[in-house]
């Protein structure tokens, strides 16, 4: 006979404020095999745990039910109590009477109490039937994969590499650097972005433990913590990177003109191009969809000899390359090359994009003098399209009046309800940089409110006011296009309580930070989920900020939510530390609550094999004629699909056996 102890938690007022804990406790005492039933304000606190501990030591209980919050965060805590006192930790069952009861039925105390009793009864019924289970361990591949080479990915990669781990750093663009490489200067210290980022990029590019794979994407991810099998697709660059010296001769020779992404579309680049001057690695690529195959030199075409000159006909890029890195006669697979790597942990650091201006129809998006803030970064950057000269796009004249508009697409139910968090600060930065350089520039900044929570941030903001930058509280509703390429900004000054108009030469709008359009299929490859705002979801917003629901996969930087560089780097280092744990331990525990096949019962029908969403089942021939199903324990996630499908009931899901579940059902329907 089992000796079940039931411990009901008040969770402060979370449960106690709704559920009659006393009544639930009393009810528990009446359940079969229950020997004690106790309550505490916080069962997970030290004194709370101590109550359970004492009952185990005293031999009062040998199975434990805690009725409290969610097993997602608290099951490990209570299992540790059992383990500490020599009791098998799987002889524990949690009844969630908070998330699934008191929180959802806060207005129905009686109903919530009745439901709590049922939930506890069901947990007790299962507990009576629990069996001890043993943890298993597998070895870990001591290597990590970092996806995304922005400032987050770079810092994660460097930290992991410096700890002695092999790191594969994957970047989809030809160079690492991310958005930070596009920035001019950075708040709150106004240090030049390139000056502080470039050395770190070089470190990442030359680190003996880092294998940098740029112009590359993830094709497929399989496996589990400690042993992920990753297929990386190295995109076809059509340039031999072994030979390319990054001189840029091909880019200069290419006649194609297509919008230059690095300069946020403010100027054009060739189909052959180098990402940006400080690129790491500094290698050219040919962007084939935009290539016009000059001279009929399609890739893999036979070389023709000019009748006139007797020399081979070459495309300008081929002709220009002094290193012989471009040979368009060579057949090249447009799909690029697949590289297989095995890693123990993965960090996702894929960053973000900013919204385009054309969604904001009331703000004259068709005017060339309406810019996104990222475009302004490029416009004032020394490496930008104007060499850092502040000239407005329509006529290359120096603007006299500039308006900054905040919250464009952020805090807006038509687009994103969240605050993009960095815009107030970077707009103040941009305004200050401009005002420093051009003191007679008139600057108006339209805010809903100014958000500067950060070290030295508010001082940075008040400094802008001291400089004579005009801060206006009130959201801008419209922009008119005036003759002479001017713009009439129609705003409102809440403090004046008046409509205002600004005749501006240039308008800069802080468009929202959001994830890339193709993020969903990417997330699916990693079995990751996105949250309500569309960013990658962390395991717990407070306590597990870099972990994900997939063990062994971690998050760093803006892919998890908008943040500035200081926070990005902090999180990147946190993610590296978290990812280093399994790599350092050398082995990871495999959850024993997984499925197992009873070879004797298995008929070899094979129904289960295609059903497993994790590909954990394979049919192994015991002898020539009789295949039998086999479950790879490291791949099984314990979802139980196979268990329910097997016509021979040959599959058992440990921790959720048939009699355990039936007992729960009986208890619930009693």
């Amino acid at each position: 006979m089992a000796k079940v102890g039931v411990y009901v938690c008040h969770c402060g007022s979370n449960i106690g404020g709704v559920v009659d804990v006393e009544a639930v406790c009393k009810h528990a005492e009446t359940l079969p095999d229950v020997v004690v039933s106790r309550q505490n304000l916080f069962m997970c606190s030290d004194p709370g745990q101590e109550i359970i501990r004492q009952d185990i030591i005293g031999g009062v209980v040998d199975k434990v039910v805690v009725a409290a919050c969610t097993p997602r965060t608290h099951e490990p805590i209570f299992r540790k109590v059992l383990e500490g006192e020599g009791l098998n930790k799987y002889l524990f069952e949690m009844a969630n009477i908070r998330d699934q009861d008191s929180w959802v039925h806060a207005n129905d105390k009686e109903g919530a109490t009745a439901k709590a009793k049922q939930i506890v009864a069901s947990a007790v019924a299962k507990a009576r039937n629990l069996l001890p289970l043993e943890d298993k361990y597998v070895d870990v591949t001591k290597a990590a994969l970092v996806i995304g080479g922005g400032v987050a990915g770079i810092f994660s990669a460097l930290d992991l590499a410096n700890m002695g781990n092999k790191v594969y750093l994957i970047e989809k663009e030809p160079s690492i650097g991310g958005v930070m490489a596009q920035l001019d200067k950075t708040f709150p210290t106004n240090d030049c972005s390139a000056c502080i980022l470039t050395p770190v990029m070089v470190d990442a590019g030359t680190h003996p433990n880092i294998e940098l794979l740029t112009y590359s994407e993830i094709d497929a991810v399989e496996g589990y913590i400690g042993n992920f099998d990753v297929k990386i697709r190295r995109k076809q660059a059509y340039v031999d990177w072994e030979k390319c010296t990054g001189c840029g001769a091909c880019a200069d020779a290419c006649p194609v003109r297509t919008p230059n992404e690095f300069n946020a579309g403010l100027d054009n680049r060739g189909a052959a191009f180098i990402h940006f001057p400080q690129a790491v690695p500094k290698k050219a690529v040919i962007d084939m969809p935009n290539c016009i195959n000059c001279g009929g030199r399609t890739i893999g075409s036979e070389q023709k000899i000019s009748k006139k000159t007797g020399k081979p006909i070459l495309a300008p890029c081929e002709r220009a390359c002094p290193a012989g890195a471009i040979d368009r006669s060579k057949v090249a697979d447009p799909n690029g090359e697949i590289i297989d790597v095995k890693v123990g942990a993965i960090i996702v650091a894929t960053g973000y994009k900013v919204m385009d201006k054309d969604k904001f129809k009331n703000l004259a998006p068709d005017s060339p003098n309406v810019l996104t803030a990222l475009q302004l970064e490029r416009l004032i950057s020394a490496t930008g399209p104007t060499g850092g000269q502040f000239l407005r796009p329509s006529d290359m004249k120096k603007p006299h009046t500039v308006s900054f508009l905040s919250c464009i697409g952020s805090r807006d139910e038509r687009h994103h309800t969240y605050c993009s968090r960095v815009c107030c600060m970077y707009m103040i930065k941009q305004a200050k940089l401009l005002k420093e350089k051009y003191p007679d520039l008139e600057i108006y900044m339209h805010f809903m409110d100014v958000r500067t929570p950060g070290k030295d941030f508010d001082e940075y903001y008040t400094g802008a006011i001291d400089m004579g930058i005009n801060i206006i509280r009130g959201r801008v509703g419209g922009i008119d296009m005036l003759p002479g390429d001017k713009l009439r900004v129609m705003g409102f000054d809440a403090d004046l309580a008046s409509n205002i108009e600004i005749d501006a030469d240039l308008v800069v709008m802080a468009t929202a930070i959001e994830l890339q359009d193709d993020i969903k299929p990417f997330a699916q490859k990693l079995s990751l989920t996105l949250d309500g705002s569309g960013f990658f979801k962390e395991l717990h917003p407070k306590l597990k900020p870099v972990e994900t629901p997939v063990e062994g996969i971690f998050l760093a930087g803006c892919c998890q939510g908008p943040k500035d560089i200081p926070d990005t780097v902090a999180q990147a280092k946190g993610a590296a530390a978290a990812a280093a744990v399994p790599l350092a331990q050398g082995r990871v525990k495999v959850n024993p609550t997984i499925s197992e096949i009873d070879r004797e019962k298995c008929s070899g029908c094979g129904i289960c094999e295609p059903l497993c969403p994790y590909g954990a089942i394979s049919m192994i021939a015991t002898d020539a004629a009789h295949p039998r199903a086999r479950i790879e324990m490291t791949q099984c996630k314990g979802c139980g699909v196979c268990t329910t499908a097997c016509p021979s009931t040959a599959i058992m899901l440990h921790g959720y056996t048939e009699n355990q579940i039936m007992a729960q059902i009986f208890a619930l329907t009693a």
């Binding site: 009331n362 139910e413 801008v476 509703g477 419209g478 129609m490 409102f492 409509n499």
Partner: protein, 170 residues
């Protein structure tokens, strides 16, 4: 102006606004976008959208019930198009109008179109139109309700049986 003691205000008007079609009143975050493009604000009326909403949110009623600004609302819906909270500001302005109208806190000039509507089916009508119409080669009266007894009866039935019928305007 003396300080307003917010704790002593009566917030009943908020529910009233909601009941009259201004569901968005609780959503407004006072960002001022609506005011920045609103013709009522631009023309200088004292109680344009955003400010009206603040007065309502803080429980002002007596102070604003007689103000005629809401009757200058053009129903242009610029505000609806851009409000970041999707509060549908126009609906709130009209909800306030409806409260004013049902309290008869409106200018008497608003009654003429209503009486016209009840009598002829047209809010705007003048006998002089007959001459104008003939001048441009059209029959003296159009095919609308103006020359249509049945139509006029229908519109009267609709109006008389509506809450408007109880206001004693017709």
């Amino acid at each position: 102006m003396a300080a307003i003691n917010l704790t002593k205000m009566d917030k009943e008007i908020i529910q009233k606004i909601i009941d009259h079609g201004g569901k968005g009143i609780t959503k407004c975050i006072q960002c001022n976008a609506c005011a920045s493009v609103c013709p009522v604000a631009k023309a200088g009326f004292p109680l344009y959208g955003r400010l009206l909403f603040r007065k309502i949110q803080t429980g002002h009623f007596e102070e604003i019930i007689e103000d005629s600004s809401s009757w200058a609302c053009q129903a242009c819906n610029r505000c609806t198009e851009i409000c970041p909270r999707d509060a549908k500001p126009f609906e709130i302005v009209f909800a306030f109008r409806r409260i004013q109208a049902n309290e008869l806190a409106i200018s008497t000039s608003a009654f003429t179109p209503l009486m016209n509507l009840h009598a002829t089916g047209h809010a705007v009508y003048s006998e002089a139109s007959k001459e104008l119409r003939q001048k441009v080669g059209l029959p003296a009266v159009p095919v609308t309700s103006i020359a249509n007894e049945k139509a006029q009866e229908e519109i009267r039935t609709l109006l008389d049986n509506s809450p408007m019928g109880e206001l004693g305007i017709f």
